[in-house]
Symmetry: C2
Subunit: 896 residues, 2 copies
């Protein structure tokens, strides 16, 4: 089906490409660059970027890009090269030869190229890179002579045959590996790097045999043939299953095809005057405006990333080659001026000449993100709106990350120091494989994943772990980059630690620590310490973050409230910038000390009179709770939700506790048991709870309304501007709300009279919209509601028919198999649940144009859901205190 | 709020009424009748009917109607009589005097009248009747002289004072009663009828004292004053709380007000030449075309109803007064000709003169309804369409279920009353567990399964039992729903019964009944009786019912399918006229004998291979089941739903059964327990079931698809035209259906190849729409569905957030307090759930205009829901076999 669609989408392009000999190839290089940054659609992201870097005068190895239209044409004519493409490729290879002074297929100074795919949208699933293309049995000899490095030349050649066979021809990689293993065994060595030139030459023969055996033809010696087959492989990879499914899942459509980038090779491993490195134009960890990176002498790019050798910091470069170091410094400035953002660059020095291989916006920690945004505004590089848009709202949680408590930390023994790869503080037992980390974390344990280095296969374990500790690898190693992306604590390259994963232990400073040892790592300093250390959690928003959030508040239309049930939470949320409480749950208030006793008395009471007696005992507690919260919120509105959970949640279910309760309340055990069994429900989520309790036991709602009103009057008399709003949960019909609204308003009036309070007392009464039927009949319900607050947790449960308590059995599989795009409890399901919200907003406001609308489900703190809330016109979102800063920024971004 | 609306609605009427002296009073009587049947809006239902009866020449006591507009005008000018009203009333009283020859307030031959309210729509909550108005201390004497019956006169007077005080002035009735009691005590009598004229005269004095005391004024002696106050009381009753809330709940709006009917009194208790009676123009029980009724000589209407004296059958009337009897016979014919329906009449003979007091369409049994409809078509009184519209579809069930023989039942002792959960009648010994019921039933005994409540584990026992009796649970409990589905008799929630299953006995009303006691339950009334009672077994669909249903099929657009899981059910439904199976559940098929063992093996299997092994054992059973059903349906379509319930429903939950299972399967008990506990769910309704099972265990769906396909091919090879349709339950996302559809189609193709079947094999694959999100995204889902079938049971549970198993605690209260108009599990909630259905229909058909749409929830057999299905354009409804005739008729009515 996907194929049909694509063909349809491409038909116009095909007509163009076939009727006239179109320009299919765009050159980039010192002499002339034909493409530009804006031509992403035609040249793909990578092609446009290469052209752009070249244009601004960066020393980029020359090359050319075959357009995405050409890929489309390839498919339109049934999978053949369009007429003229071979010619245009040859013409551009000749240009490239002119530019580099080398010759394609030459036996003396061969031009080698890389071939890469690159669509307009970055898209895993398409072809990987083929390097060193252009080598064959003859030119490899030339390369060896030219570089005076036979080993290098044969190494390059064997890499080509391997990559080409694997990537272009689909020969399974392990066939090549087996051949390599045989040779290493014959030589009596274990490391690739220990194989001498002779061995590599032999390996090339063996690889060619593997190639012939599995491809059914000899490895092509004609470099043009190599190139054309590689280009075709890129074209074909556009329509691979993986690429198609990636596009379907990510709803990518309307693209022509992929471009193909052919670029001259440069080598950082040509000797001691060569090298390679990666760098960030600012510190990606702190955001400081310093040049930050590392390089390796006589090495290739992948060596830096793989973390096999420990690289040197960029600062050390001028000692090695001052000219190159200076040039790199100039390029850094140029890049930031041009891209107006921090860049992540890759470079190679081939025999003293600097080449830029890549530049892209750099990943960064939340803290760095904020600091850079604020700094760049100060530097007038960007404006405030750009700054706001650029900070990933979710990353702000990292700024609110825990750190070790000073004294406790000072008292702890430090056993090693690694690189401060990703800030934060974590303690835990040691897990040595990703699987182990996942398992133990699922079992509820805090673990640190300890690895020599990490690879993409480890991401699950990394995610499960409280922190990550590696013994090799630098600040840009896999572990460091991934951990920073998540805001997870990581110490990398702690070289003193020797890891024995098989035995499940590490050795450092002569001591051994096993699975059950607990260590602590400080991702901001790189320290590794013994034992668990107390952590502190920040409680305020200050510095650059405060600046950013102030800007955000200036832009946002929606307000941000918080979900808080205690004065402490309320205070914290206010300090994080919440402008009110959007959800104050009252059920937690019934559990402490004597309260639960009175609550249980109430539940056991057989008559309304006895229930009222028990409720009378609860009243003073509730009143005090509310007064405390109103006081903490200093005049900001507080939405109090009436009792929501089913009554059985307040009764003990185990025999011993039931006995204790019976004794405590002086009732027979049988009576307790009887009540517990009577209250048992098959599906408590869909049972007797929420407003249904208030309808059948109006005295409960009455007591709560009384407590709220009494607390309000008490505060107001003290000069504290209490602003309660009463919210009725689980409304499914207009009549329920009507009955309860009347009861609440009556109670307020009675209390006002009793307390002889003559001032104005306006307590709005509204409802949660958390039942599908409530959303579908919101127009009616709005007639008797002062506000709606969307309870998207329950709404999601009921709209999907998923119980949060039970969906764990299939939901992760649903997400991983992409049956669901995202976990609908994390990000709101716009299509289904969102549609209910939209209906309720529109029809509620049709009835009452000024109806106040908010959200208090967990989605209220999730950026993509917040964007949805903005779109449907909510007045505020409400989230947990720690997510308030995230929500403030996300609310601004939703407007921008 | 309600008041404001009404005022707004009435403003135009008020302008009219106040600008010119409008006609406010319409006379009816032998001399002249001003109103007519079509003027319901103006004269109210009762007024129009009185005018109509008079017009066709019936001997109706004369009178007049004050219009509803007048009531509106009364309110518009602030609660005063509009100008001219008093005059018009007086003018009409004079006409009435002319007509009757009596005089209002006369001391010799006083005219007495009744005053009644009557809006355009029948509306309880407004004023009751005031009789004998016009009497006072003087005219009562005249009446006594005129009738020569002093006791009659004083009795009429005391009734007036009592009714007038109560109804017009709001004096509590018990004040009058207390006065009466004192007098009776003084006379030493207990019955009202034993009080002589003297005592009644004294009573009138006492009543007037009561009146004065509570009203603060004397009882009005001016008959015009009496009348005007009574008219005003009727006007005021229009705006009483009771009337307002009745209108709000029943969504009655747009009415002006109530009319007031003033009518001359006639008396059946004026002596042996007077009498009163009620009659039906045909037998309301059998429908036979015979005059059917009873009368009492020298009595008032209420005496017949109260049953104090035994009335005589109508047949005896000619012996008493042949002339009157003949006249009544003529009137009977006239009425049926005029109203074209069976009439329920009230009449009074005052001193030999016959008066008709009321005629209305008579209530009747289902059987009578059918017979009358067919007869009246034959008699050319009505056409077929009218006949179809007139039969209450639900009443047809009465024609199909067994019931207790009337006399035998009357003789039996009733010991408890529960809810009439599933109609029918059953007797049997008491079985206290499902196993016991199965065993004893197998041994040939008739048993009633007696449980506190039932669960899916009990279905075998429920199926085996003759009837089901539960002590908790409502009309929508598991027991009730399952029993109704099967047409099996069930009494639910008989709370007076205390069950001791361990001891095998129940206690009720201080008596104990054990395993060997035989009880009888009446599922149509909820009665529980002692002993076996003779039953009357229903006739099949034949005779008049068959005629009616044939007519219905000719009119209906929608088809009627059935929900059936066995060949027996399938056959029965086909005999009741089902044109296919709309829901064939497959889970029941896994419970019998060896199947449950294989099913449990499958559930316990840790690997897919072992699951497949166990499923292989189930395959032949399933294939046989399907082949049986396809054969029974003789070429009609059969929609098979894949496995739906969560797996834990197939495992035992009690220790003993678990032990037995462990032994049976040869696995450790701990393993059984572990699996049971792993499968436990907090909210199974929202858990791992339906298509979610098929997604995680595709092998189950594969086995079922294979069984269906193999059974189909097997049938086709035998020349039986099998027409299966495969239905996937609980779809919430398009992708789920896409994956499973692919799996099913693949399996079909594989089986077709294996069986070397070369014929056409078209098995549509569709989905239930039973999750709100599925309805909301139906446009997407339709792309991969051949049909939709609405599972409105689950859709209602999720749209409302009600668990059927648990809602019994609040749902009955919700219905009785009119928070919900109807139990949404019985009649579809058009506003909420219906909206989801409508969205799904519209958007599904937008994607696929020919998409087949059906319903298979219990609503598929409920007439008001069927009307909704017609409206949204479904192709068929599917219901339990016993409701097929109901649905056929309802489907026709929906068109008409």
């Amino acid at each position: 089906m996907a194929t049909t669609k694509k063909t349809r989408g491409r038909s116009t392009a095909s007509q163009k490409t076939t009727t006239r000999a179109k320009k299919m190839v765009y050159f980039f290089g010192g002499s002339r660059t034909e493409g530009k940054a804006s031509q992403k659609t035609l040249l793909g992201g990578k092609g446009a970027n290469l052209a752009d870097m070249t244009s601004i005068g960066l020393p980029v190895p020359a090359g050319f890009t075959i357009t995405t239209d050409t890929c489309a044409a390839y498919y339109d004519i049934g999978g053949r090269f369009p007429g003229g493409l071979s010619d245009q490729i040859r013409k551009n290879i000749r240009k490239l030869e002119m530019e580099t002074g080398k010759k394609f297929g030459s036996t003396t100074d061969p031009l080698l190229v890389s071939v890469r795919s690159g669509a307009a949208v970055s898209m895993p699933g398409m072809m990987d890179t083929v390097l060193n293309l252009g080598l064959n049995d003859k030119s490899v000899v030339g390369l060896a002579e030219l570089t005076g490095n036979e080993r290098f030349a044969w190494d390059a050649y064997r890499r080509l045959i391997n990559m080409y066979g694997d990537v272009v021809m689909g020969v399974d990689h392990h066939h090549f590996e087996a051949a390599f293993d045989r040779i290493k065994k014959g030589l009596g060595v274990t490391e690739d790097t220990d194989v001498p030139a002779e061995g590599l030459r032999e390996l090339c023969q063996a690889y060619k045999a593997v190639y012939r055996q599995h491809v059914g033809a000899a490895f092509p010696t004609d470099p043009y043939k190599q190139l054309e087959l590689a280009v075709e492989a890129v074209f074909r990879s556009w329509n691979s299953d993986r690429a198609n499914s990636y596009r379907r899942i990510n709803e990518i459509s309307g693209l022509n095809g992929t471009a193909v980038n052919v670029q001259a090779m440069v080598f950082g491993n040509m000797g001691e005057d060569s090298g390679t490195g990666v760098a960030f134009t600012r510190d990606p960890s702190t955001g400081k405006n310093v040049f930050y990176g590392e390089f390796l002498i006589n090495a290739q790019g992948e060596d830096v990333v793989a973390g096999i050798r420990t690289p040197e910091p960029l600062a050390a470069m001028s000692r090695w080659n001052a000219r190159v170091a200076k040039e790199l410094g100039r390029i850094r400035i140029k890049l930031e001026k041009h891209y107006k953002d921090m860049q992540d660059i890759e470079f190679t020095i081939e025999r003293g000449t600097l080449y830029m291989l890549q530049t892209r916006n750099g990943k960064r920690t939340g803290a760095a993100s904020v600091k850079m945004a604020v700094d760049m505004v100060k530097e007038k590089l960007i404006d405030r709106k750009t700054a706001l848009k650029r900070i990933p709202a979710n990353d702000l949680t990292q700024l609110l990350l825990p750190s070790f408590q000073g004294k406790s930390k000072a008292a702890a023994e430090t056993i090693a120091k690694g690189l401060p790869a990703s800030p934060g503080a974590a303690s835990g037992g040691l897990a040595f494989t990703a699987e182990e980390a996942v398992e133990r974390a699922l079992a509820g344990e805090q673990v640190l994943l300890v690895r020599k280095e990490t690879s993409p296969e480890d991401v699950d374990g990394m995610h499960s772990a409280a922190g990550i500790l590696t013994s090799t690898g630098g600040m840009t190693s896999h572990a460091a980059v991934v951990a920073r992306g998540w805001g997870k604590c990581c110490v990398a390259g702690a070289g003193d630690i020797s890891i024995d994963a098989a035995k499940g232990r590490i050795t450092v400073g002569g001591k051994t620590y096993g699975r059950k040892s607990v260590l602590s790592i400080d991702g901001s300093t790189g320290e590794v310490m013994v034992g668990e250390i107390e952590r502190v959690i920040p409680s305020k928003v200050s510095g650059d973050l405060a600046t950013v959030l102030k800007w955000a508040d200036g832009v946002a239309r929606m307000g941000v409230r918080t979900n808080a049930d205690t004065p402490q939470d309320a205070k914290r949320a206010r300090e994080f910038g919440a402008i009110g409480i959007g959800l104050c749950r009252t059920e937690h208030m019934f559990f402490e000390g004597d309260r639960i006793k009175a609550m249980r008395e109430m539940i056991l009471a057989g008559t309304m009179v006895n229930r009222e007696k028990a409720l009378k005992k609860l009243l003073p507690y509730q009143r005090k709770d509310f007064a405390g919260i109103f006081t903490a919120m200093k005049g900001l509105p507080v939405t109090v939700r009436l009792l929501d959970p089913p009554l059985h949640e307040f009764l003990p279910h185990e025999a011993d506790s039931q006995k204790a309760m019976a004794k405590d309340l002086g009732v027979p055990l049988s009576e307790v048991r009887r009540r517990v069994s009577m209250l048992h429900e098959m599906n408590p989520m869909l049972g007797h709870r929420g407003c249904r309790l208030a309808i059948t036991y109006p005295e409960i709602a009455k007591m709560q309304a009384r407590a709220i009103t009494e607390a309000t009057i008490q505060c107001l008399k003290k000069g504290i501007k209490a602003m309660p709003e009463i919210m009725v949960p689980l409304i499914g019909t207009r009549r329920e709300l009507e009955i309860l609204r009347e009861l609440i308003l009556e109670t307020i009036a009675v209390v006002k009279k009793e307390k002889k309070y003559s001032g104005k007392l306006s307590i709005p009464v509204g409802t949660m919209i958390e039942i599908p039927r409530a959303a579908l009949t919101a127009g009616d319900i709005a007639e008797v509601a002062d506000f709606f607050s969307f309870g998207t947790n329950d709404l999601t449960q009921m709209a999907f028919g998923y119980s949060r308590d039970d969906a764990g059995v299939f939901l992760p599989e649903y997400v991983s198999r992409e049956i669901l795009e995202k976990d609908p409890f994390q990000a709101i399901d716009v299509t289904g649940v969102g549609r209910l919200v939209e209906i309720a907003c529109q029809e509620g406001r049709m009835t009452k144009p000024k109806l106040k609308l908010g959200i208090c489900g967990e989605h209220g703190g999730e950026p993509s859901s917040i964007a949805f809330c903005e779109q449907v016109g909510l007045d505020y979102v409400s989230c947990s205190p720690f997510r308030v800063p995230v929500a403030r920024l996300a609310a601004a971004q939703a407007v921008l």
